[in-house]
């Protein structure tokens, strides 16, 4: 899931001397303790922990689909094999029940497990390193109030040499920790710290570390593209703090679209976060890189004019893409600038249609978007079984040029072909 690509650090480690390597990578095991007694945890501390855990989206990586909360077992795909997330319930044998606060703090800050082994940085400890002692204690307190669930960690399934955890030590030397603003800068502290937004939205270098010089320039995650944030956002209308806060809390932004892919789960968790925290994050993220440049401003003005009916929408092409749109898409999305059946974002404003790559738009068309069974929210069926590869290309071309009014994507056919291979639909 998050952080799909595994750092390539190991590649450069071939030359590291065995001795130095052993020294670096050896860490003492922290003695097992008994979990804190029920009632010994101050409720206020656990409540604060709940707030941080929601912001950190911990449940998402540590809860397998259909599994018990925080019991781990989520497969994290990497180019080198699978990692499985761990059980962070207070079960003594299989979870973190035997971890002292000190052991937990060490893991949060340095990625060293209680028994001394290195955690892969799919666990975003570089972001957590700057959390205050109090914050970590709160998270610990909250997790210790969860129901202990016995669920043994699954063995990772990584190819040699990536399966040598000790190599992470060298990686850590080079790329840890991230820069996290102090708590006084609430938005930055949360966004860079516990919420680890950059873990998805910042591109990584060849060894899988975030490229701080390109912070929030957008990056590929699990076959999706986490779009650039702030001034570099491809959205037709720049984000405002208010709309971003709304989006984070509900997954729907009236002028940008609907959270899909990995971000859908993030917004589902953030729905329970403190609104003040979300506003702080939103203010920080919306402000990245300063105001939008004149080209984007002009585009925004033009888009608003079409929305209000004072300017005409982009010209429509005919052909197979238009026919598919009319029979498969227009029923909900109408002309792309209005909506009929749901309280949806006009399709023309969807960020995915304005991104450089058709990947996100294609994935939504293939897979659809499905809220949880009990949850009201934008819903779309997947079209993987309906449309042939050529029809996908046709309809995407139409969406891009005739609905969003953007220059044609040049890599459509290849993207469709490669993604259909990845996503053998049911």
């Amino acid at each position: 899931m998050r952080l799909g690509r595994l750092f390539l650090a190991v590649l450069i480690l071939g030359g590291a001397s065995a001795a130095a390597f052993t020294a670096l990578s050896w860490h003492r095991s922290d003695a097992p303790v008994s979990p804190p007694a029920a009632g010994s945890i101050p409720p206020a501390l656990a409540t604060e922990g709940a707030r941080l855990v929601a912001l950190g989206n911990c449940a998402d990586c540590h809860t397998a689909p259909g599994g018990r909360p925080y019991a781990g077992g989520v497969a994290i795909q990497t180019p080198y094999g699978h990692l499985f997330s761990t059980n962070i319930t207070p079960d003594t044998a299989t979870g973190i029940g035997a971890w002292s606060l000190a052991a937990f703090t060490r893991a949060m800050r340095t990625g060293i497990s209680r028994d001394g082994h290195h955690l892969y940085p799919a666990f975003p400890y570089p972001h957590y390193a700057a959390l205050s002692e109090h914050e970590i204690a709160a998270i610990y307190a909250y997790l210790m109030t969860r129901k202990p669930i016995s669920a043994a960690a699954r063995d990772d399934d990584l190819a040699f040499p990536f399966n040598i955890r000790a190599l992470v030590a060298v990686w850590n030397l080079l790329y840890w920790p991230a820069t996290v603003p102090p708590p006084e800068d609430a938005g930055g502290h949360i966004a860079e710290g516990i919420a680890h937004c950059g873990a998805c939205h910042t591109p990584r270098n060849q060894i899988g570390a975030e490229r701080t010089e390109s912070a929030y320039a957008g990056a590929d995650v699990d076959g999706w593209h986490a779009p650039a944030l702030g001034a570099a956002s491809p959205a037709p209308i720049p984000w405002t703090e208010a709309e971003l806060a709304l989006y984070l809390s509900g997954g729907v932004a009236p002028h940008h679209g609907v959270a899909a892919g990995p971000m859908q789960a993030v917004t589902a968790n953030l729905a329970f976060a403190d609104p003040a925290d979300l506003h702080a994050i939103a203010a920080y993220i919306a402000g990245i890189g300063g105001p939008a440049d004149p080209v984007r401003q002009a585009r925004a003005t033009q888009t608003e004019a079409i929305l209000s009916g004072t300017a005409p929408p982009p010209p429509r092409s005919g052909g197979p893409g238009a026919e598919i749109y009319a029979g498969a898409c227009a029923i909900c999305h109408q002309d792309g600038w209005h909506t009929l059946s749901q309280n949806l974002t006009p399709l023309a404003l969807a960020t995915s249609l304005s991104e450089a790559s058709p990947r996100n738009a294609l994935r939504v068309i293939l897979e659809g978007r499905h809220p949880r069974e009990s949850e009201a929210g934008p819903q779309m069926p997947g079209f993987a079984n309906n449309l042939t590869a050529q029809q996908m290309v046709d309809v995407l071309a139409y969406l891009r040029t005739s609905i969003a009014g953007r220059p044609a994507w040049t890599d459509l056919a290849e993207t469709v072909a490669s993604m259909r291979r990845e996503q053998e639909p049911q």
Binding site: I331, G368, Q379, M380, N386
Partner: protein, 169 residues
Amino acid sequence: MIAIDINGRSRSVDATPETPLLYVLRDNLKLNGAKYGCGLGQCGACTVLLDGKPVFSCLTPVGSLAGRRVRTIESLGTEASPSPLQRAFIDEQAAQCGYCSAGMVMRAQALLETNPGASDTEIRARMQTNLCRCGTHMRILRAVRRAAAALGSASASPPQAGMRDGAVK
């Protein structure tokens, strides 16, 4: 006129290419199986098979079907001679109003054709797309399991005891 292959027959229909298949099936071809439930791809009442895979016919433009094969519930069996899956729905009395039934049958049919020994979890996951307001779900599951058990290999496990009923005299 558009030519489409429905239930193994080529039919020529007078419809514009964007017309959703559902309307062509019901209105032009006078087939009852696929139902209008939402027209939005949210309920599954209109489910048919396209090249063996389940699709919402309400969101499938008829012009996109050249060279592809559509199957509706009418292709499975008849009242006099129902298919094994239809038989299982009758045996389990897996309907109340039954408006969702045809869509349920077709989605389950697609599953059993590729995975005759589908597990309970797999059946539930696959049927998630289709709505039933009458609360007939448990019976639908039983019917699909019954058909799976009949179709699956001899070693396939019998239907699970998901429901037990009794009458006390």
